[in-house]
């Protein structure tokens, strides 16, 4: 039997843990629909689940529980258990995961409702530091667990892709600084995997995290056939903590549809039926708030049915928590308009700045990275530029060149932080603060070299090249404050790396074997060959002894 002390300890722990009051959980859902001027329609499904009063776990507690063999209890009602377990197991305070496909066109679509629109997969987490359970070990566990949960290759975001940028990824919630009289410092881990492709197998586990799955409420519109047919689609998960709200989980699905493409009359009218092939027929009874907001088109005649509950700043609001008579199928029509023609030239871009990033170069070993940033505002813009590259692309930092209208303007770069890559390991991290003069284009270019990879380091389908993570741009708010605004991602670039002939090892073996065999053969032959004298040139040779003409070559 256990000693009495241990009994008492386990008993008290059991009691205190299991008696802890259940956290109040809350679930809200919101669908935002925004018709765009180029005929597209953006939709964003936001599901937020809050656990009031819950706090993230102290990292040291992971070990303590094993040491003291405490009873561990976790109770969830709306918050998904499978995600809660992961957050708890690895003591994660804040985590953001996004899986997207396509390129978000900031200029014509504006800023997205959910900022995480990086192409492919992106994961970043803030975790409390602990001497005993290292952040990197937990980061690895988190990656693998999320990989299993969402059926995505997030596990591949290893040390070769992980960085910790200083300013671009600040916590979006709060970080509890004091845990039971113990100060905790936090560390950021960020990684992206642009080659990851989001598909149905990622959406299915995502939907299972929702309290009503895809069976009721606005989530019933999430039809994978239509969603993955959209011009741009993606999903994301954000877990943050706030002192007042507790732990907050935001699950979001974004998609940009093109109703003109699917319309037979080339019209840009749309409805839930035409976009999703579904309508909302049952309400999710556990949602405390369930709303649909439709931004109304401007400058054109339109008709919206059914009648909204309320109008607010050019937004029609519907409440889907009580669906009484018939399924909700919101439709927006443009009765005066015939077939829609895509605007050839956009009047004005919707964002303050536009970015294009290209990779140039004719050889497989060197190249040039060029980024051009166009300031659309009438005043200067301060921007933080964050570039992360796997080690196989190395920057020649001394060739960093800033030009406006062909003029060299090095003074526009105010702050630079550079972490050089480590061969076969850590990636490059470059953080630069740039000032872009009013209404002009700043061109940043830099020469790079592409490394020669080891035979085993090449990915499957090596000739396709490597997808390089998108660069991140953040606008600085005001001149003196160190706070930054919304993140803007560039599109990923494809980098071509010299590839070997993959049957090479066998060729090398055959080649060297042949050489060795050849050398061996000739030396051996020389050493064991019998030399015999032959009489030549003499007249007797014609009728000479045949024996003497015997040739005994090997």
């Amino acid at each position: 039997m256990l000693p009495q002390g241990l009994w008492a300890l386990s008993l008290s722990c059991l009691a205190s843990h299991c008696l802890a009051a259940g956290n109040l959980e809350n679930f809200d859902e919101l669908l935002t629909v925004r018709p765009l001027r180029d005929g597209h329609v953006t939709t964003r499904f936001l599901f937020s689940i809050t656990q009031a009063g819950a706090t993230p776990r102290v990292p040291d507690a992971i070990l303590e529980e094993d040491e003291h063999r405490r009873c561990i209890a976790q109770h969830y009602s709306l918050f998904p258990l499978s995600l809660g377990q992961i957050l708890r197991e690895y003591a994660v305070t804040e985590v953001h995961l996004s899986l997207n496909a396509g390129k978000w066109d900031y200029g014509s679509w504006g800023m997205p409702e959910d900022l995480a629109v990086a192409g492919g997969a992106e994961l970043w987490a803030w975790m409390g530091d602990s001497d005993r359970v290292g952040v990197d070990e937990r980061w690895k566990g988190l990656r693998n667990a999320l990989s299993g949960l969402f059926c995505a290759s997030i596990g591949e975001m290893n040390e070769m892709r992980t960085t910790s940028p200083t300013y671009a990824f600040r916590p979006e919630g709060q970080l509890p600084l004091l845990f039971s009289n113990q100060t905790v410092t936090y560390q950021l881990r960020h990684a992206s995997l642009p080659s990851e492709h989001v598909c149905t197998e990622n959406l299915t586990p995502f939907l299972k995290l929702l309290p009503c799955k895809s069976l009721a409420g606005i989530a019933s519109l999430l039809n994978p056939h239509r969603l993955f047919d959209a011009d741009w689609h993606g999903m994301s998960i954000h877990v943050t903590w706030d002192e007042l709200e507790g732990v907050k989980l935001q699950l979001s699905v974004q998609a940009v549809f093109d109703p003109v493409r699917s319309s037979t009359q080339q019209k840009r009218d749309f409805s839930f039926q035409s976009l999703f092939d579904r309508s909302i027929s049952t309400a999710c009874s556990v949602a405390s708030n369930s709303k649909v907001e439709v931004a109304l088109p401007q400058g054109v005649g339109y008709a919206i049915t059914p009648e909204p509950l309320a109008f607010r700043d050019q937004i029609a609001v519907y409440d889907t928590s009580e669906l009484v008579s018939e399924p909700l199928d919101i439709s927006v029509r443009y009765p005066a308009e015939g077939s829609f023609s895509y605007p050839l030239e956009l009047s004005s871009p919707l964002t303050d700045f536009e970015i294009s990033r290209t990779f140039t170069g004719t050889t497989q070993s060197s190249g040039k990275l060029t980024v051009s940033i166009q300031n659309n505002r009438a005043d200067d813009l301060q921007i933080l530029y964050v570039e992360t590259m796997p080690w196989l692309v190395t920057f020649y930092l001394h060739t960093l060149d800033l030009r406006v209208d062909g003029q060299k303007r090095d003074e526009l770069m105010t702050r630079l932080k550079y972490a050089p890559p480590e061969a076969h390991g850590r990636p490059t991290l470059l953080e630069v603060e740039l000032t872009i003069p009013a209404s002009s284009i700043l061109q940043v270019s830099m020469e790079v070299i592409r490394s020669f990879l080891r035979y085993t380091e090449h990915p499957p389908d090596a000739s396709r090249g490597w997808d390089m993570p998108p660069a991140v741009f953040v606008v600085r708010n005001g001149n003196d404050s160190m706070t930054y605004g919304e993140r803007v991602y560039t599109r990923p670039v494809l980098v071509d790396v010299a590839t070997p002939d993959f049957s090479m090892p066998y060729n090398v073996i055959i080649m060297s074997s042949t050489l060795i065999a050849l050398i061996f053969g000739s030396i051996f032959n020389l050493l064991t060959r019998r030399f015999v004298a032959i009489k030549v040139g003499d007249g007797n040779a014609a009728n000479g002894d045949e024996n003497e003409l015997r040739n005994e070559f090997g």
């Binding site: 059991l14 065999a517 053969g521």
Partner: protein
């Protein structure tokens, strides 16, 4: 002829030199073979095979010692002992138990009489017989029957019981088939019920296992089949349907963070238009029971809410479910129940706990023995299987733990269980060591095939030269 002689006299042209060269080539080749063999052979360390085969002769022998008190004579003790020995023999457990019943002296268990009571109950390690109006002949039977069921019941394989693990996760789930149909509970007082019903049992079991508790509520948990509609308007689950009741594709029950075995306890609330849902027996008539156990998986309780449901499941509504869950938790963990007619005030009697300790220690010991002998025979069978240090160390540690267990089993079943658990985990780790698979997919034939372009052109002149020399030597002798 003169020139021929001259050529012959050149030192390297002599037969002797040529034969020495040829011989030295062959010596190098022959010497290189063992080197090549040793550098390319698979590391196969020796396993302590003798110790493994000796295990079969060793048996766990649990002492069952009891003292009879309160006027029970030595002859009663002898009769009871005799009856119990017979019972052990009938169960073919002769090797595993030694029975020792005395009327005096210290024993691990006590049996005493209470002449004023009719009911039999257990208290700690004491069995108190209600001996009111009992003849001494009856008494002997009752004592030996009670002892035999307290000690020996449930010993042996049982398909329902989960495999031993030092840590289990208990997952409590409230599954609503369809919340949209209305009348479904959205919350439950699970924490209070766990504290009331489950925690006392877990505390008693903490000597064997640690537990992690989690609970969740699901609002849409559809079934994969249509329940049968009955004549009275209610719905039924046939026996076949019970076996496919858990819809693992739709119910998110699995977890990705831990490898501990999970025991599920599910309260299933049928959709409002499928109530009441009943369990049918073989004749398709509804049974009174509303719960069933899925062997080694967990337990399911079907809750049909009354007409006027609140959105929160009250404690009184949960009580029947949790009473069932407590019983089925014990069943799944292999805790033997008390024989009929024997009562106790404790959550789990010492008798049952000790019987469980013995049972688990026995299972683990048998399991580790089997695993160890499987490793030995597997290594014998597959010659290309590497055996590295990790494996031999794990095997040795398992054997050491088994030795310790055999030595301590008389004094402390508790420690014996811990040693047996360690032996079992080490033996399994050795058996599943990934290093043992490494070379199975890369056989020596493959190696040889890759290097044929080198070996064949080298071997041909070597062999040919030998043949030629032999031919020449025979010719010169003639």
């Amino acid at each position: 002829m003169v020139q021929d002689e001259a050529v012959k006299n050149v030192s390297f042209q002599s037969d002797r030199t040529r034969r020495t060269i040829l011989l030295s080539y062959w010596i190098v080749v022959l010497l290189a073979i063992p080197l090549w063999w040793s550098t390319t052979s698979i590391a196969r360390l020796r396993l302590p095979e003798e110790r493994v085969s000796n295990l079969h002769s060793r048996k766990l022998k649990f002492p069952l010692r009891a003292t009879l008190e309160g006027g029970l004579t030595e002859s009663v003790a002898r009769d009871v002992e005799e009856a119990l020995r017979r019972r052990v023999h009938e169960l073919r457990l002769d090797g595993s138990f030694s029975v020792d019943i005395r009327s005096s002296s210290e024993g691990a268990y006590e049996v005493s009489l209470n002449a004023d009571a009719k009911e039999t109950h257990v208290e700690g390690r004491k069995l108190i017989l209600g001996a009111k109006s009992l003849s001494s002949e009856d008494m002997r039977d009752i004592i030996s029957n009670s002892l035999s069921s307290l000690w020996l019941d449930g010993f042996g394989p049982d398909q329902q019981i989960v495999q031993f693990s030092p840590r289990y996760r208990l997952a409590f789930s409230l599954m609503n088939e369809d919340t949209a149909a209305g009348g479904s509970p959205l919350g439950w007082g699970v924490q209070t019920m766990i504290n009331r019903e489950i925690t006392p049992v877990l505390q008693r079991l903490s000597a064997l296992h640690n537990f992690t508790i989690e609970s969740q509520v699901q609002f849409f948990a559809p079934l994969a089949f249509e329940p049968v509609k009955l004549k009275d308007g209610s719905f039924g689950l046939t026996e076949e349907q019970l076996s496919v009741f858990v819809n693992s594709a739709e119910w998110t029950l699995s977890s990705s963070v831990s490898n501990d075995p999970v025991l599920h306890f599910v309260i299933f609330v049928p959709s409002a238009n499928r109530r009441p849902l009943r369990i049918l027996d073989a004749d398709s008539s509804p049974t009174k029971s509303s719960a069933f156990v899925i062997p080694q998986w967990g337990s399911i309780f079907i809750y049909n809410p009354p007409q006027s449901t609140e959105s929160h499941l009250t404690l009184s509504a949960l009580r029947p479910a949790f009473t069932v869950f407590r019983k089925q938790l014990l069943t799944l963990l292999g805790v033997p129940s008390l024989p009929p007619g024997v009562k106790t005030s404790e959550a789990l009697s010492d008798w049952a706990l000790n019987a469980l300790l013995r049972r688990r220690a026995y299972e683990n010991a048998e399991g580790s023995k089997d695993t160890l002998s499987s490793i030995v025979s597997l290594v014998h069978q597959i010659e290309g299987m590497p055996v590295d240090k990790d494996v031999t160390e794990d095997v040795r540690e398992a054997l050491d733990a088994l030795d310790k267990m055999y030595n301590i089993v008389r004094d402390s079943p508790q420690l014996a269980l811990q040693y047996s658990a360690r032996a079992f985990s080490r033996a399994s780790r050795a058996f599943f060591n990934p290093g043992m698979l490494a070379l199975l997919y890369f056989p020596p034939e493959h190696n040889l095939a890759v290097y044929t372009p080198l070996l064949a052109p080298v071997a041909v002149p070597l062999v040919a030269a030998v043949l030629r020399e032999v031919a020449r030597w025979r010719k010169s002798r003639r």
